[in-house]
C-alpha cells in the first residue's frame, strides 16, 4: 500500500496535467492516425491476406506513437526540475515508476482507443470473433511497451540527445513484444478465436511480468541524482 497510494497520486497528477493541457493525447493521437494513413499508402493493405500487413501497420503506429508519448511524460518532469521534487518527496522510486507507468498507460490506451476503430474502418477489416483477442493484444502489448519505455525514458531524459536515444534503447528490447503483438493481432483480425493467438498472448504476459519486475527493481538506479 505504501507504493500503490503514492503511485496513484503521481498518476493522477499526470492525468490532471494532461486534462488541462491536452498536450500528449492530441499530438500523439494525431501522430498515430497519420502513421496509420501513411502506412496504408506504403504497404499493400488491400486484397486477401491483408490482415498480416494490417497488424504490422497497427503496431508500427502504436509503437512510434507510444514512444512519443512516453518520451513526453518524462520531458515534462525535466522542465523546472519537477523530477527532483518527485525524488525528494516521500514517494519511493518504485512508486514513481508505477505512477509514471500508469499515466503513460492511460494516455497510450486512450490514443489507441481512438485509433483502433478508424483503423478497422480504413483498412476494411472485420475482426468479428477476434475483437476480444484484438483488445487483449492491445492491452498486453501496450503494457509491455509502457513498462520498458518508462524505465528507458527516465534514462533518455538525462542524456544529450533524449529524443534519439529512447527509440534506440526500446526497439531492440521490444522485438519479442512486437513479434507477439503482431502475430496475435493478425490472428485476431483474421477472425480467428483465442486458440491460435494464445501462445502469443502468453509471450506478452510473460514479457510484461518480467519487465515489470526488472523495472521496479532497477528504476531507483536510473533516477538518483
Amino acid at each position: 500500500m505504501r507504493i500503490l497510494a503514492p503511485a496513484w497520486l503521481i498518476a493522477r497528477k499526470d492525468l490532471r496535467l494532461e486534462l488541462r493541457t491536452r498536450d500528449i493525447v492530441t499530438s500523439v493521437g494525431l501522430f498515430a492516425l497519420l502513421v496509420v494513413v501513411a502506412a496504408s499508402f506504403a504497404f499493400p493493405t488491400w486484397g486477401r491476406g491483408r490482415e498480416g500487413v494490417a497488424a504490422g501497420v497497427l503496431w508500427i503506429a502504436f509503437l512510434f506513437a507510444g514512444l512519443l508519448g512516453i518520451g513526453r511524460s518524462f520531458a515534462i518532469e525535466k522542465e523546472e526540475s519537477c523530477i527532483d521534487g518527485l525524488l525528494l518527496s516521500p514517494a519511493g522510486p518504485e512508486a514513481i515508476f508505477l505512477g509514471k507507468l500508469l499515466a503513460t498507460l492511460v494516455f497510450t490506451l486512450g490514443v489507441e482507443l481512438v485509433t483502433l476503430p478508424v483503423f478497422v474502418v480504413l483498412l476494411q477489416l472485420s475482426p468479428g470473433a477476434g475483437t476480444a483477442v484484438l483488445i487483449l493484444a492491445a492491452l498486453l502489448g501496450t503494457f509491455g511497451l509502457a513498462t520498458v519505455g518508462t524505465l528507458f525514458a527516465a534514462m533518455a531524459v538525462n542524456t544529450k540527445t533524449r529524443e534519439v536515444i529512447l527509440p534506440l534503447l526500446v526497439l531492440p528490447i521490444a522485438v519479442p513484444l512486437l513479434i507477439a503483438s503482431v502475430e496475435a493481432t493478425a490472428a485476431a483480425l483474421g477472425g480467428r478465436s483465442l486458440g491460435s493467438a494464445q501462445p502469443w498472448l502468453l509471450v506478452m504476459a510473460a514479457y510484461d511480468a518480467l519487465f515489470l519486475m526488472v523495472g521496479l527493481s532497477t528504476f531507483r538506479h536510473v533516477t538518483e541524482a
Binding site: V148, L151, M155, N158, T159, K160, T161, I165, L168, L169, L171, P172, I173, V175, P176, I179, A180, E183, P199, W200, V203, A206, Y207, L210, F211, V214, T218, H221, V222, E224
Partner: protein, 246 residues
C-alpha cells in the same frame, strides 16, 4: 574517480607521454603469456579444423566454418553473461571497475556476435542457397547484436561516468533478461510459418574428430576473449588516467 590507486604525484599528460603508458598500467607477464598461449591455441585450432576433422559428406568444405562460427557464438553468450553479472554487482557496489569490465566485455561480445552474423551467412549461401534466413538462432543473434550495439551507443550520450555506469548496468540487466524471451518468440514466430526454409543442421551425430576440433575452437576463443578483455581493461585504465589529468 576513486577507482584505481592514484600515483603519488599527479601525472600530467605530458608526463604520461614522457614516461610511457607502462608507468600507469605496467605491462604484465601474465597477459603476455596469455597472448602467446592464445596464438598457440589458434594454431592448434587451424590444424584441427582443416586436418584433424574429416570432410563433411554432405556439406563439404563449407562445414569447416562451424569451428569458428560456434565458438564465436559461445563467446557472444559468455561475454554478455559477464556484462550481466558485472552490471548486477556494479549496482550493488558502485565500483567503477565493474563498469569497465562490463563495457569491455560488451565490446568483445559485440565483436564476436558480428563474427557469428558474418560467418553464418557465409556458410548459409552454399548450403541453404541464401545468405540470410530468418532462422531462429540467426535472428536471435541479430537481436542480441542490436541490443548490445544500443548499449554501447547509449554510453556515447552520457558524459558523467557514474551516471553512464548506472544506465549501462540497467541496460546490461534488461538486455540479458530479454534474451530468453527473444529466443522463444523468434522460435515460435518461425514454427508458425511452416513454408519457410527448413533448418538443416548436421544433427548431433558427429565424428569424434569434429567434436574435438569444436572443443579446441571453444577453448581457443575463450582464451582470446580473456586476452582481449585484459587488453581492453588496460586501454580503458590508460584513457581514464589521461582524461583525469587533462
Amino acid at each position: 574517480m576513486a577507482t584505481r590507486a592514484k600515483p603519488k604525484a599527479p601525472l600530467l599528460p605530458l608526463e604520461i607521454a614522457r614516461t610511457g603508458p607502462d608507468a600507469i598500467a605496467p605491462p604484465s607477464t601474465r597477459r603476455r603469456v596469455l597472448g602467446w598461449v592464445t596464438v598457440g591455441a589458434f594454431l592448434v585450432l587451424g590444424w584441427a579444423a582443416f586436418f584433424l576433422a574429416p570432410q563433411d559428406d554432405v556439406q563439404g568444405a563449407p562445414q569447416r566454418i562451424f569451428y569458428i562460427h560456434v565458438p564465436s557464438a559461445w563467446i557472444g553468450f559468455l561475454a554478455f553473461f559477464v556484462v550481466f553479472v558485472a552490471s548486477l554487482r556494479f549496482l550493488r557496489t558502485r565500483d567503477l571497475r565493474l563498469d569497465a569490465l562490463a563495457v569491455s566485455s560488451a565490446e568483445i561480445g559485440l565483436l564476436f556476435t558480428t563474427g557469428v552474423l558474418v560467418t553464418g551467412p557465409l556458410w548459409a549461401r552454399p548450403i541453404w542457397g541464401v545468405f540470410w534466413s530468418w532462422d531462429p538462432r540467426l535472428t536471435s543473434f541479430l537481436v542480441l547484436w542490436l541490443i548490445y550495439l544500443s548499449y554501447l551507443a547509449m554510453r556515447q550520450y552520457v558524459p558523467d561516468p557514474m551516471r553512464r555506469a548506472r544506465f549501462s548496468a540497467v541496460l546490461g540487466i534488461v538486455g540479458f533478461a530479454d534474451v530468453p524471451v527473444v529466443y522463444l518468440s523468434v522460435r515460435w514466430w518461425r514454427a508458425l510459418h511452416p513454408d519457410q526454409v527448413v533448418f538443416v543442421s548436421g544433427g548431433p551425430r558427429m565424428p569424434t574428430e569434429m567434436v574435438v576440433a569444436l572443443v579446441i575452437g571453444i577453448a581457443a576463443f575463450t582464451l582470446f576473449y580473456l586476452y582481449l578483455l585484459t587488453v581492453r581493461l588496460r586501454v580503458r585504465r590508460l584513457r581514464d588516467a589521461l582524461e583525469e589529468e587533462a
